[in-house]
Symmetry: C2
Subunit: 113 residues, 2 copies
């Protein structure tokens, strides 16, 4: 897989109003996550995974909580998540798009899609 065209993808439905599509090499993955179900009244439940993560806010506004740190972010901002640290977001706008980069790749995502 060398390129993934948005117009030719059928994004995976994570839940109602939330989708993602993927691109990856052996050791790095990007998940493009689109939220259309915001704004959320409260943060999603925190989750964690052994994969390190860096995320770019491509559109919308969020609160991100990483460990004990809570920050307001908007388009152009980044957040980082070390392995196994609980984290979550709260969408503050109807639409949010996050570009989530992972190492190692999320093989659990590949199984579903």
């Amino acid at each position: 897989m060398g390129t993934v065209k948005r117009s030719e993808t059928a994004p995976f439905i994570i839940s109602e109003g939330r989708t993602r599509y993927l691109g990856h090499t052996d050791n790095v993955m990007i998940a493009v996550v689109e939220f259309n179900d915001g704004p959320a009244p409260q943060p999603d439940p925190p989750h964690s995974h052994p994969h390190e993560q860096v995320s770019y806010v491509a559109s919308g506004k969020i609160i991100v909580i990483v460990g004990e740190e809570k920050t307001h972010l908007r388009e152009g901002d980044l957040f980082t998540v070390p392995a196994n640290v609980p984290h979550t977001i709260q969408t503050l706008t109807k639409q949010v798009r996050l570009i989530d980069a992972f190492n190692p790749i999320r093989k659990d995502f590949l199984k579903k899609e």
Copy 2:
């Protein structure tokens, strides 16, 4: 480093009209690369590196060349670059923003910024 706010960064100047800023954990890095010098009459010279790369086109239109494969991409599209494969882009619009994810991290970028 948990978060990087665009409004508080002083992006590194790669060359006239091109900047980047970074976020990273130990093993995954995102470089937000902004081109304001397009459209380019031809592709940049190809380059390669041992770091695996997945890139998201956040804005603008490009031609990407990875190895022998040449593809037109636009906002929302992804491309992937295995380790050590020559690759380059040609900007087709004045402004292009790429979200480049790397593993391992680009320590060469950290030295400069």
